[in-house]
């Protein structure tokens, strides 16, 4: 037991230290970890901009923080009771110059930070494409997994998002259950997805590698395991990936209805008669209107039989073969 605790303690200190190192030298991460999890290990221009912005904010804030952290102990020591160097001025009340610095510097810093934030935020508008002809991908958030549809290539996946390096990507999101929130930290910021509505997220990968994507809005028991892999491939590697996915089985409405059940990826695989593990699912030939139909499900008020299409709109049935 003791040795296990020592290992955990060591692991904790190692991760703390590496977090500090990452703050100073983000490239350190690229070699070490298999799937990037943080915007401090950026894989594309959006996360790079975010990382730079954070470091810039930290540096500017230090203008206020460092003098306080250093000044307080220095002043305490200098003006201690039996100090001989310090002047004793009990009648001293205020200093115009000091007040000007104490109020002026923070005001200037807030103005600088605010305008920089305004500039960065509008520059990183998630709805703005990052270049010509972005790769269109549609994402449907389900209970505890994500379906990605590639209308151009005619393939679909569950819990794996492959993108070619260098080509901008435009993700259109919705959910077929409660509100969800997608975050692929090494590539872009967080974006919400709501049933019956769509949101957009634009990003691009500047280098090959894998990143972890996740849902950050609690949606039930499988929430903690709703992770997916983002793979940035060289263009020819991406083409090979697409042709591999094209040989996979069809994504028809019945399969989609199974996917819509409340299940994590492994349980959904079991429901489809596959091995129960976390290997992503590939499908070919998804209905080109599937995404639109999922969105429109939530705009209809028809009879119950109408609503049954694509698994209906209410609380999905529990998935996972051993649950039923």
């Amino acid at each position: 037991m003791r040795s296990l605790n020592t290992v955990r303690l060591l692991a904790a200190s190692v991760s703390l230290t590496s977090a500090l190192i990452l703050m100073i030298w983000p490239e350190a991460a690229t070699a070490a970890t298999p799937a990037a999890q943080s915007f401090l290990q950026p894989m594309g221009p959006v996360a790079e901009e975010q990382a730079t912005h954070l470091l810039r904010v930290v540096a500017i804030t230090m203008i206020v923080i460092l003098p306080v952290l250093i000044g307080v102990p220095v002043l305490l020591w200098r003006y201690r009771l039996n100090s001989e160097k310090a002047k004793y001025t009990p009648e001293w009340e205020s200093s115009r110059r000091l007040e000007l610095v104490l109020w002026g510097v923070p005001v200037v810093i807030v103005i600088v930070l605010a305008s920089w934030l305004w500039y960065s935020t509008s520059k990183l508008d998630p709805y703005k494409p990052l270049g010509e002809n972005p790769l269109q991908v549609q994402a449907i958030g389900l209970d505890w997994k994500w379906v990605f549809i590639y209308p151009e290539a005619g393939v679909a996946t569950v819990d794996e998002l492959a993108i070619p390096v260098g080509r901008p990507v435009e993700l259109t999101l919705t959910t077929d259950t409660v509100m969800q929130s997608m975050l692929i930290a090494p590539l872009a910021g967080q974006i919400y997805a709501m049933p019956g509505m769509t949101t957009k997220l634009n990003f691009s990968a500047a280098r090959t590698g894998t990143a972890e994507g996740e849902n950050t809005q609690f949606n039930g028991n499988g929430f903690g395991r709703q992770k997916f892999t983002v793979i940035a491939l060289e263009p020819d590697g991406y083409d090979a990936w697409v042709s591999r996915a094209r040989s996979a089985p069809m994504l028809d409405d019945a399969t989609y209805a199974v996917l819509r059940r409340r299940s994590v990826l492994a349980d959904a695989r079991a429901d489809l008669g596959l091995s129960r593990d976390a290997t992503p699912l590939y499908f070919s030939g998804p209905d080109s209107a599937l995404f639109q139909r999922v969105v429109e499900k939530y705009h209809r008020s028809g009879t119950a039989s109408d609503m049954e299409e694509l698994g209906g709109t209410g609380l999905p049935p529990q998935g996972g073969a051993d649950h039923e």
């Binding site: 955990r8 259950t177 409660v178 609690f218 039930g220 028991n221 492994a266 609380l315």
Partner: protein, 285 residues
């Protein structure tokens, strides 16, 4: 588990306690759940026994529960906050212990100290308790104790209303405590965002616990905010101009204004909810 619906008790029967879960299947999660319920029951019985043994019932009622003295009400607020803090801290420990032991992979079924549903309830109660039943009563208690004395006022502007506010906060806290023993708490976190917490996706009694606790204590906190503001505006001692008020009084005024503006919105939204998305047929009708 099938619940038979009785005309009086609805779905309330002997199977709603965590002991049923423990008897069904002994896991670390059901042990933690039943253990928490036991602490609640033993604590309640212990408190009643102590009050009886020490013959404190009468002084408790006469000197404390019926007292409109802001200082005493302040102390009672702080005691309430400390009791809830004890639960909040223990929940924090359980959650961290779970995170330290939940070392499963994406493919494996859930592992760790508590089940996913139990963990979700823990972070919901922990968040709700720490915000609404620790941070707020602690501050309100401190202000109750200090503010009238700093202003030179004899008491709050509305002393009896002050008692009512304390009672409503305590009732909300009581509801959250009862959820340890009877039924389950909501799993939507302390913000309980719809549509996940709507009647369709969270059909159990859990979200109702949260809604009622926030509604009842929210009314109490709104009234407290008004009480503080009126006391500061109207009950200052002669010569206590605004600019002579101690800084703490100004802080209290800010708190009071925030309470007045924030709590009704929260209370109304937990009441009427997001219309059909939300779940409050009781008050919505």
């Amino acid at each position: 588990m099938t619940h038979q619906t009785s005309p009086i008790f609805g779905r309330l029967d002997w199977n709603v306690t965590p002991y049923t879960d423990l008897l069904e299947k002994v896991t670390s999660s059901t042990i933690v759940g039943a253990g928490a319920a036991t602490v609640l029951v033993v604590g309640a019985i212990g408190a009643v026994a102590l009050l009886t043994w020490m013959r404190w019932w009468k002084p408790l009622f006469r000197d404390w529960l019926t007292s409109a003295d802001a200082k005493k009400i302040g102390i009672m607020y702080i005691v309430l906050a400390l009791v809830m803090l004890a639960r909040g801290i223990i929940e924090g420990f359980v959650m961290r212990a779970h995170q330290a032991t939940a070392l499963g992979t994406l493919a494996e079924p859930e592992s760790g100290l508590v089940a996913p549903d139990h963990f979700a309830q823990l972070f919901s109660t922990h968040g709700t308790i720490m915000i609404f039943f620790v941070a707020m009563p602690l501050l309100i208690g401190l202000i109750n104790f200090v503010l009238p004395q700093q202003l030179g006022a004899r008491d709050m502007a509305f002393p009896v209303l002050n008692q009512v506010s304390l009672g409503m906060t305590a009732a909300g806290a009581g509801l959250i405590m009862i959820s340890l023993l009877i039924g389950q708490f909501g799993t939507g976190g302390w913000t309980m965002y719809p549509p996940y917490t709507g009647i369709q996706y969270s059909p159990g009694e859990g979200v109702d616990y949260w809604l009622w606790a926030i509604l009842i204590s929210g009314v109490g906190s709104t009234l407290t905010g008004m009480n503080f503001a009126v006391t500061i505006f109207k009950k200052r001692a002669p010569g206590m101009h605004f600019m002579r008020m101690p800084l703490f009084c100004w802080t209290s005024l800010c708190v009071a204004i925030m309470l007045i503006y924030a709590m009704p919105a929260l209370t109304v939204s937990s009441n009427a909810g997001a219309g059909p998305l939300c779940r409050f047929p009781l008050l919505h009708e």
